[in-house]
């Protein structure tokens, strides 16, 4: 019985399984290199970010410390002794008790009760954007609805 083409192919290509293995190995290596490169790229980018973050943290701390130092310097310039000296240099003199005049305005009561009018609460038309996908869709939808409503109102007007 004549052998089929498959049997023929299998019999004649004793070398083929080796080539397949080699191909698969090379393919595997390429994939591994690709994954490795991807990992390295990601890791180095993370590392760079980490370093930048560290630098920013250091910068923040330095600025905070400088702020404190400046505050101390300003406080040093505002001491009573210094202010008095400066005022004297500018020609100011301390007032005596009999040089102070208190004004009494008829009917004016400085100790009156202070009434604070409460702010009118503004109704929040749109819900707060919650920074999620659903929130984003909701925001878009709300904006669209608002546009349609304003257009309809204009038409009605």
């Amino acid at each position: 019985m004549a052998e089929s083409w498959i049997q023929h192919a299998l019999r004649r290509t004793g070398w083929r399984p080796q080539r397949q293995v080699a191909s698969l190995t090379v393919l595997g290596m390429i994939v591994a290199v690709f994954v490795g490169a991807l990992y390295l790229s990601q890791a180095s980018s993370t590392s760079t970010l980490g370093r930048q973050l560290n630098e920013l943290i250091e910068e923040r701390d330095r600025i905070q410390q400088e702020n404190e130092a400046l505050r101390a310097e300003i406080a040093g310039y505002r001491t009573v002794e210094r202010l008095l000296r400066r005022a004297q240099e500018l020609g100011f003199v301390q007032a005596a008790a009999n040089q102070i005049q208190y004004l009494v305005v008829d009917g004016y009561n400085p100790g009156r009760a202070v009434t604070v009018v409460e702010l009118q609460a503004v109704e929040n038309v749109l819900p707060d954007y919650d920074e999620s996908f659903v929130g984003w869709v909701q925001q878009g939808w709300d904006w669209l609805t608002e546009q349609v409503e304003s257009f309809t109102n204009q038409g009605a007007g």
Partner: protein, 583 residues
């Protein structure tokens, strides 16, 4: 034969092989199980040990101290802030032009040029040039752009107002811990928490973002301007009177807020390390106790009025001396005043009168009332080192009947200046005694915590307080203490001249502690003041402290915007009031 041998060998191998395989399987299984047991179920102490070994390799923990809270006065002026000093060092092997660099550094750091040159040409990998330099020098060094120069920040507590209110604020030591004053009392609140930050050596680990906590800020009840005024007047009084020590206390009798607390001698918290005598760091206003003398007469009279032992019209016959409890009580001028009422007794500061009032009151009531005024125990002020004073009571080994009599005019009883002012403030505040305090608010980020005024008790009734106030006004207007009066203002006050006891129970000759205590405006007190000067050249308080009080009040009414009585009453008639404290 050979074939048989080979067969035997194969047979032997076939027999032994399962044994060897079984052995290897068992060994492998044991190793695998052991490995698994290491990975899965380790005893906790072993696990933590191994983890610490692992972490030591690529992690380290950094301790971050929180910034200390800032201390402000009541108007927001910073009294204690955080700043940085810098330690300056250099790596000699990175210096290319040592001569020029030495010249630059020596001029910026104020060092000897030759020494700097030797340092930067040494073989050491790193040399320290200056242990601490301020930020201004650091800025100067930065501009020089010297490669290899390092400047390591060192935190430092700074007191921009210098010695102002030093005893109230205290200081922070080199160990970053607060000592004395508010810095010591509120150490936990001001210091904040020390946090730990994990630092990884693995470059792929993202750093942990730690917001370093900040200690709570503290807002004092002290008014910086009033404090400056009190300290200036105290210094002037010390120089003019020749006193060795002194205190001025200014308090709001309505809520117990201390507006100023000045002491002499004082110190500079920026240079606390220069102080050789540790006693100089103690706050005499709360720590020193002394015999107050005649200022105590107002308390005796207030107590007697409260107990209805006497009325404001009560009179007695003053013969200049009173033999009682085995001692002879004499008036300061050794003269008899005749028949006098209580007001006159206070105006002329008669010891015989005070002793008679105490006698009228009775021992039990006297001590009960004095206890209500808080003598013999601390006021609970939020400052370190408060003393309780000393009031011997019946039953104490140091007590005698004579003690009861002399306490009525302020001898044989020891008080702190703060105790005395707190007691007199009760008279100013319609009989309600408020707890003195120096902290008004704590600020923790967005959270503000207000200190609520609290009452220590009501030692006397409002009626008794009002009656004593009228008498104290008479003392200032027409008595020995007239030098304390200020035109346009009604002031209630009383002086006290106390002898100074020695270690052997006698009193020092020609040495006194002079006190003036008073409040104003008498009908609506906004401020109560105590002035104390130790060992002045002149003996009597009416000569020494009463004029100081007047001078102080003259400026104080301007600072606190307290108008003269006529203007104030005119405002009050319209329903208003002037309260300069809340300006």
């Amino acid at each position: 034969m050979q074939a048989t041998g080979t067969l035997n060998q194969q047979e032997t191998i076939r027999r032994r092989l399962p044994v060897i395989i079984a052995f290897l399987v068992v060994v492998s299984s044991v190793m695998i199980l052991r490995l698994a047991s290491f990975q899965l179920a380790l005893p906790p102490e072993v696990q933590s040990y191994l983890e610490s070994l692992r972490d030591a390799g690529y992690r380290r923990t950094l301790e971050l101290a929180a910034d200390r809270g800032v201390v402000y006065d009541r108007n927001g002026e910073p009294m204690a802030v955080n700043t940085l000093d810098y330690m300056v060092g250099i790596s000699p092997n990175l210096i290319s032009e040592p001569r020029r660099t030495a010249q630059q550094l020596a001029s910026a750091l104020g060092l000897n040029e030759l020494e700097v040159f030797e340092s930067i040409t040494s073989d050491e990998p790193w040399v320290q040039l200056a242990a601490r330099v301020p930020a201004s020098v650091r800025q100067q060094l930065n501009q020089m752009d010297i490669v290899g120069l390092t400047m390591t920040p060192i935190p430092r507590r700074s007191y921009p107002q210098g010695p102002l209110a030093a005893h109230i604020i205290g200081f922070v030591g080199g160990d970053l811990r607060g000592y004395y004053g508010v810095e010591g009392y509120y150490q936990d609140q001001l210091a904040g928490q020390i946090r730990e930050r994990e630092i990884s050596r693995i470059p792929f680990d993202l750093p942990e973002i730690t917001q370093i906590g900040h200690g709570r800020d503290v807002v004092l009840t002290i008014d910086r301007d009033i404090q400056f005024l009190a300290e200036s007047e105290l210094l002037r009084a010390i120089q003019e009177s020749g006193a060795t020590q002194g205190t001025i206390l200014i308090m709001n009798p309505r809520d117990g807020e201390i507006l100023a607390m000045a002491n002499y001698p004082t110190f500079d918290p920026n240079a606390y390390f220069n102080i050789t005598d540790e006693n100089a760091l103690r706050n005499p206003a709360v720590s020193d106790q002394y015999e107050p003398g005649s200022v105590m007469k107002v308390i005796t009279v207030a107590a007697a009025l409260d107990r209805n032992a006497i009325t404001p019209d009560w009179t007695y016959n003053d013969q200049g001396a009173l033999n009682i409890a085995g001692i002879t009580v004499r008036n300061w001028n050794r003269q008899a005043a005749g028949v006098v009422d209580v007001t006159r007794m206070l105006v002329d500061s008669l010891n015989v009168g005070a002793a008679s009032v105490a006698q009228q009151m009775g021992r039990e009531a006297f001590y009960q009332e004095f206890d209500d005024f808080g003598f013999g125990r601390t006021t609970g002020i939020d400052l370190e080192g408060e003393a309780s004073g000393a009031m011997p009571v019946p039953g104490d080994p140091t007590w005698s009947e004579a003690n009861f009599i002399t306490s009525s005019f302020g001898q044989g009883i020891a008080v702190t200046p703060l105790q005395m002012l707190t007691a007199v403030s009760a008279i100013a505040n319609d009989g309600l005694m408020m707890q003195p305090h120096v902290v008004r608010q704590f600020i923790n980020g967005d959270e503000v915590i207000n200190a609520q005024p609290s009452a220590l008790g009501r030692p006397i009734s409002a009626e008794a307080a009002d009656a004593v106030t009228q008498m104290m006004v008479a003392v200032v207007n027409s008595g020995l203490d007239n030098a304390a009066s200020l035109p346009g203002y009604t002031i209630a006050g009383k002086t006290g001249t106390a002898e100074i006891p020695t270690a052997i129970g006698t009193y020092e000759a020609n040495a006194s502690i002079t006190t003036f205590v008073g409040f104003l405006p008498a009908d609506d007190p906004q401020v109560a003041i105590l002035i104390k000067l130790d060992r002045p050249r002149d003996y009597w308080a009416s000569q020494v402290t009463a004029p100081v009080f007047r001078r102080l009040v003259e400026r104080l009414v301007i600072l606190m915007e307290i108008p003269t009585d006529d203007i104030r009453l005119l405002l009050a008639s319209q329903g208003g009031s002037v309260n300069g404290i809340q300006r």
